[in-house]
Amino acid sequence: MIKRKDSPSAQGDNRKRRFEKEALLHLDAVYRSALRMTKEPTEAEDLVQETFLKAYRFFDRFESGTNCKAWLLKIMTNIYITEYHRKSREPSGLTYDEGEVFSLYEQIEGKEGKRAATDPEKRFFDRVMDVEVKKAIEDLPQEFREVVVLSLLEDLSYQEIAEALGIQLGTVKSRLFRGRKLLQKNLWEYAKAKGIVSDSPER
């Protein structure tokens, strides 16, 4: 039997096949995150293309068996931060330890709970619309949106998020905490605007 050496093209084919199986598998997840980050379908598509191209170039450095999605999201956030949003990287001005932190739970229990005999939370959650959930994330200032997308939507660990964004673990935790509170506040505001809930005492 004649053994043939792998030609460069055969190596390329192998690499491509492996890449499709391990990395391109996460296309939807990366696209969704890109969409949440950029809020713009065409910009998201560009970002995703750049991400996978870069990932392909560096695919040799990806350790098989580790979290490929986290690795891709790390590449994506890197590109996003350095190329797409350089100008808006200034902190939003929100500090992480502002005294009064919004609690949706207290709002619902306090304002609604008194009069509603049945599960007030269920009432609230049932009335939140899908599009508002999405909007709540997109309305977050960028530094919170990043951690919220990676944690709540993509389920990355604190450590993975810290690496992806190049920030300290403690910063991940505080931004996530604050981000969740802001999300709750956003949802509460939307509900208020629709007249589902109100801040004023019930008559």
Partner: protein
Amino acid sequence: MNCSEAQRLLYDYLNGELEQLDLSRVESHLKVCSSCLRTFEFERRFQSLFVDRIPEETAPPELRSAILDRIDQLEQPRTSFPLSRKRPFFRPALVLAPIGLVVVFLAIVLFTSDANRKEPLDILLQNHIRAESSTEGLIYSSSDPQSVSSHLERELGFQTSLAAYARSGAILKGGEVLQICNCKVGLAYFSTHEVGISLFICRQGELTCPQMETVSYRNREYHFATIREFNLLVWEEEGLKFIAVSRHRREALLDFADRRA
């Protein structure tokens, strides 16, 4: 564990970030404290909103094919340059060719999206490439030298293909990367002591000189021009544009191009 400690660990708990010890302490607190349990349940429910209620957006099918196309383009230089397969430079007969000093350039041009503006080759030569004689033959250098190994690998992912060319018989001498009117050009030069022709291979673009003339040779069409001491031959092959630059006669360039085909 008291309530405030449990509340402090709430998000770490929900995010699955608690170590075993804290985890069991939180869980035993939740068994006995219904008030904390309610807030934990609330936050868990809140968290699941984002998983359950955001419609499953899938990437458009064109996006997938666009990525695969671009990957193919990345791989293309490895597969469609006939150098390593046909090895026209390294036939024994060519060793006897009456040409002494040699540097072979391989240029792979990746045009960026905004690379619609092209400059004639003479401007490229004038501004960006310097040719000088040395014991190795003609050594070309650029105004923006960077080592091939680091830059090509980082920017183009090309290291493997360079190694493949080097194995095909030439001695890899090094290389540079040029930025030419919005195009990234990767250069690798080989010392073969056979021919003194620099070959640029471009994926797309219109590299033409004002004074170019059309030449027919063995049923194929070429474009030829002379710029200062250089002769230039431009032709197309498999959708790629080839540009040979040399101080040798036109016939030598035509013969070189014909042997490649």
